[in-house]
Amino acid sequence: MSTATAALVCTDVHKSFGKLEVLKGIDLSVDEHEVICLIGASGSGKSTLLRCINLLEPINRGSIRVAGEEITAPGVNVNQVRRGIGIVFQAFNLFPHMSVMGNVTLAPRKVMGLSRSQAEAEAVELLDRFGLADKRDEYPDRLSGGQQQRVAIVRALATHPQLMLLDEVTSALDPELVAEVLNVIRELAEGGMTMLIATHEMGFARDIARRVCFLDEGVLLEQGPPEQIFSSPREERTQQFLQRIIEAGRM
């Protein structure tokens, strides 16, 4: 796992909101085509880490490198960096005043400078691939949660990112809608997309991740292959967390 080929390298990343220290020195390296799941209790820093990587939150200390380039260095063009990193949010965050087509083509047209017809042709292809071709003219509020989240994934893919960040993308969905979104993610993983996934779906994490990282109070406490983390976690905090998950019937 040398840094030269790594898609993402976080080094000693610190982030505080006022007095509250949310990330206390995160070191994490993600290889190209690798799928990593971040697990941990709410408030452990999973979402904040993803938001920092997308530069939605400035970090206080440390550095983040994407494809070898330090994106947290001063003077970096943040808009350029964000084009290469797709992020999908728990609450979808689709633009309610735009149709599905409008949502998906916004960035290609405004950021990448594609013409409307070019952008729409690409969007149709993506929507088709994820079974949303017939929804192109619908508005987000008329879609189910699962469909909205799939549109959000397509929107993030439209700028051809090399890295996808998924922030608890199934947490706001009804149980019967979770599968359709997880299938999309699975397909992306099979296609070789590098992904960093914050999730509470332990079964899914075990299934899809090459590596699982357990975050606890802003510290990356333990990481390893899913078999090891889920069956024989070394740290006591990890054991406690997984025990609670099992008790809650989410495993």
């Binding site: 938001r51 939605l56 808009n79 609450a91 633009f95 005043h97 405004k110 008329r142 700028t159």
Partner: protein
């Protein structure tokens, strides 16, 4: 129909100027602090002054300055006073709309690589403006009625005409007629706005209203 002309021109100017003012007030970071301060100062000042006072100041004050290239036409000056006052009010309406759009919308747009300006134009403002259409209409009805204030400067508009009629014949029916005309103009606008909002809602929302 002097009122309507004044109103139409003033309304367009106010819509644009107030939007600019509201956006200036939202500019982030210490660099734009002076601009934010100016925008806040403008709003505080011109919302605080009674409209009729500013109409007097513009209509009678500016001509006494004898400025070159500045009109002495009381209609223009009165209308300018209304634009100045209503820009302050309307910018606050816009600001409320802008702030009502959830920050996650901005995060989503920025995460796609859109600049701050692109995000404002394509994501924040379209949603903000839709939400404030009813209060905007409120202010514009106020504006239409306040065009009557320009009568103090001399030009003949509806209110003035009514006063002339009333004082010459001791008959106050002209006031009633003038009032009737004002209502006659505003009600169709209100219904049209309702219609537009309803159409927009139907397009975006699933099913009916809850």
């Amino acid at each position: 129909m002097l009122n309507i002309k004044i109103f139409l021109v003033a309304e367009v100017l106010i819509l644009i100027l107030a939007l600019v003012l509201a956006v200036l007030r939202q500019l982030p970071g210490p660099v734009f602090f002076p601009i934010r301060l100016l925008a806040i100062g403008y709003t505080d000042l011109f919302r605080g002054i009674p409209t009729i006072l500013l109409v007097y100041l513009f209509g009678f004050g500016i001509p006494t300055l004898q400025l070159a290239h500045v009109t002495n036409n009381p209609v223009y000056l009165g209308a300018a006073a209304l634009v100045v006052v209503y820009t302050a009010y309307v910018s606050e309406v816009y600001r409320a709309g802008i702030e009502s759009v959830h920050p996650s919308q901005e995060a989503a747009a920025r995460s796609l690589g859109l600049t701050r300006g692109q995000t404002m134009r394509t994501v924040i403002l379209p949603q903000a403006v839709r939400r404030v259409i009813p209060p905007l209409l409120n202010d514009f009805i106020g504006l239409q009625k306040d065009t009557a204030l320009i009568s103090v400067l001399g030009p003949v508009e509806a209110q003035q005409r009514a006063t002339l009629g009333a004082s010459s014949e001791f008959n106050y029916t002209p006031y009633v007629v003038a009032a009737f005309f004002f209502v006659l103009i505003t009600v169709p606008q209100a219904r049209l706005t309702d219609l537009l909002i309803e159409r927009d809602r139907k397009r975006q929302m699933a099913g009916g209203r809850v």
